[in-house]
Amino acid sequence: MSALRADELEIVEEKDPELNEQQFESRTPWRLAWRRLKKDRVAMVSLGFIVLLILVSLFAPLLTALIGHGPNTQYTTRGLSLSGIPVGPGHNGFLLGTDDQGRDVLSRIIYGSRISLEVGIGATFLALLLGVVVGLFAGYYGGFLDSVLGRFMDILLSFPILLLAIAIVARFGPSLGLLIVVISLFSWPYIGRLVRGQVISLREREFVEAARALGASDLRIMFVEIAPNLVALAVIYATLLIPVNIVLEATLSFLGLGVQPPTASWGNMIAEAQTGDLFTVAWWFLVFPCVALVLTTLAFNLLGDGLRDALDPRYGRSHISPAKRVRRAFRVRRTPPAPEPAEAKA
């Protein structure tokens, strides 16, 4: 029996270093997260769709040249029937049909994706910047600064933001830049509040104390020590904020306050389809922009959900057993579920 045990020990000792080395090399938090994300089929499909969408919007001129129809060209002879009815999908070489002015719906959707992504990603980026900086200061310094900034964010969040956004856009005239600024102005408090909560717990951690003991300045602690721990949180919530902002842009464009025709945006395509009642006989130029919009927001939402699972093991579902999941779900949770960055250490 004792001889047997010695055998086992030998084998284990031979295998172990090699195994550990291999695992050690591949186990950065991001790789772990990526591995978890890869198992999530829904998230991967969404990611694929988003990558495709980005490519489509980048190569919009090339694609429309390949199709042979410009986004704003009115094909009055081929694109409209004799009585002026738009041509249906698949007819006369219009894959998704034409709209009331005989323009190619597909080309317009392709160009509309540029607007949606520009505004969605641009506004989210600005909101992220503002939210992280304000959240860092509020959470790190606490006290008076925190209560002022916190109250300010609360007030912004409880305002009828659509109304104010509409008023601002109406006053200064619609433009793409203003649209991005206005949207980010009203969406940054979401990020700000999350970051603030996270920073409040991070600033008590040992590595911050260590940095302070080494004489690091407040700014250095905030932006060099604490900020990297916020990356996972930022990635998750930015992904979830993009669809919100895309919808906000589409809504403003739909109300006639966003991107102005003839420039195609999904929102104003839908608005144009609604104004003449022509979409009752030609459903396609209403339905296809709607489908594009819904698929895009859905993809971002699903990817965000998947990212949350992948980057934050506490919410994970793909790598724990079903029984454990239920037990975890019913577990006592005393503190509000502030998401923790995935095992990341500064």
């Binding site: 109304l163 509409i166 709607c290 819904v294 939402n301 079903p322 006592v332």
Partner: protein, 320 residues
């Protein structure tokens, strides 16, 4: 309780001052003379523009006008609109019932849809039912309200009517006092389009909050003393889980009462949202300011109601 209400009223005053100020700043950031010129009529000369400015009270400085407006507000008077010199109070009195019936109906509908689904998916986590409700929620969370509204119109109005079943009207509003049946028929589609999207949010909210509550000690205690699963879930669990829902409901009702812009536009309902949109298009400052003030008031009032409800629902708040 009185302290709470007084504090809320003070808060309301502060918010109103901030928000009306912002509205005024936004509108006066341009040149007030442009505003006057706009309402002086076409081909107006400088003299006519000056007359218009005096008529609209735009000849005074920014602070004077703003102060004047606040004093009017204190008397419950929103002033006259720029466009037709009609009292704004009566315009609001006409628009508010439309918005109110839209909001009240859809709130009832979305709670009826959202709460049961949320409870079901929280009490059966990670099952097929839970996944189905998650799919429902994520789908409707991703659909903008104007898309849903237009698609509902397309299917339930145009296609049904063409098929010979004219059950639903296209758009418009019939007052409840005029014909309750017509009112109901005209409101069904707007209610549905608003309620489905909101129900998605509430499903997620209830699910999360009930899951948290069901993991707490007092639930285990209740189970341990032999109460049935049903009693524990509904009497102990759901009651405690409703607090975040009520907070959200307060905010939502307050915001929507100020005008469900998109739904009102899609279904041609002449509520507060339409009033505000038209006013913004016409640069009719007093009307915009009035709707903004109403919105802020609704939100603060709803928050106060929520705080009082908290105390009723949750003994921990009452005792604290």
């Amino acid at each position: 309780m009185i302290r709470l209400i007084v504090r809320r009223l003070l808060y309301l005053v502060i918010v109103l001052v901030i928000i009306t100020f912002l509205t005024y700043v936004v509108f006066f950031a341009g040149n007030p003379n442009n505003l006057a010129a706009r309402f002086a009529g076409r081909d107006a000369g400088p003299a006519e523009i000056r007359d218009a400015a005096i008529r609209l009270g735009l000849n005074h400085g920014f602070w004077y006008q703003y102060w004047h407006y606040l004093v009017g507000l204190l008397h419950g008077n929103f002033g006259l609109d720029f466009q037709n010199a009609v009292p704004i109070n009566s315009e609001i009195a006409r628009a508010f019932p439309v918005t109110a019936s839209l909001v009240v109906g859809s709130v009832i509908l979305w709670l009826l849809i959202g709460i049961p689904i949320g409870i079901m998916s929280a009490t059966h986590p990670r099952t097929v039912r839970d996944r189905a409700s998650t799919t429902f929620a994520l789908t409707f969370l991703s659909v903008p309200s104007f898309v849903l509204g237009l698609l509902l119109l397309l299917v339930f109005y145009y296609y049904l009517t063409r098929a010979g079943l004219s059950w639903f009207p296209a758009a418009g509003y019939v007052p409840l006092t005029q014909s309750p049946v017509q009112w109901l028929v005209h409101m069904i589609l707007p209610w549905t389009s608003l309620a489905l999207i909101q129900a998605a949010i509430y499903t997620r909210l209830i699910r999360g909050s009930l899951l948290d509550v069901l993991g707490e000690d007092f639930i285990r205690t209740a189970r341990a003393k032999g109460l049935s699963r049903r009693t524990v879930i509904y009497k102990h669990g759901v009651r405690a889980a409703l607090t975040p829902v009520i907070t959200q409901l307060g905010i939502d009702i307050g915001t929507l009462l100020a005008g469900a812009f998109v739904t009102e536009k899609v279904f041609g309902l002449t509520g507060l949202g339409q009033l505000a949109l038209n006013a913004i298009g016409n640069e009719d400052l007093p009307v915009v300011a009035a709707v903004v003030v109403l919105a802020a008031s609704f939100i603060v009032i709803m928050n106060t109601v929520v705080d009082i409800l908290y105390a009723v629902l949750d003994p921990r708040v009452r005792l604290a």
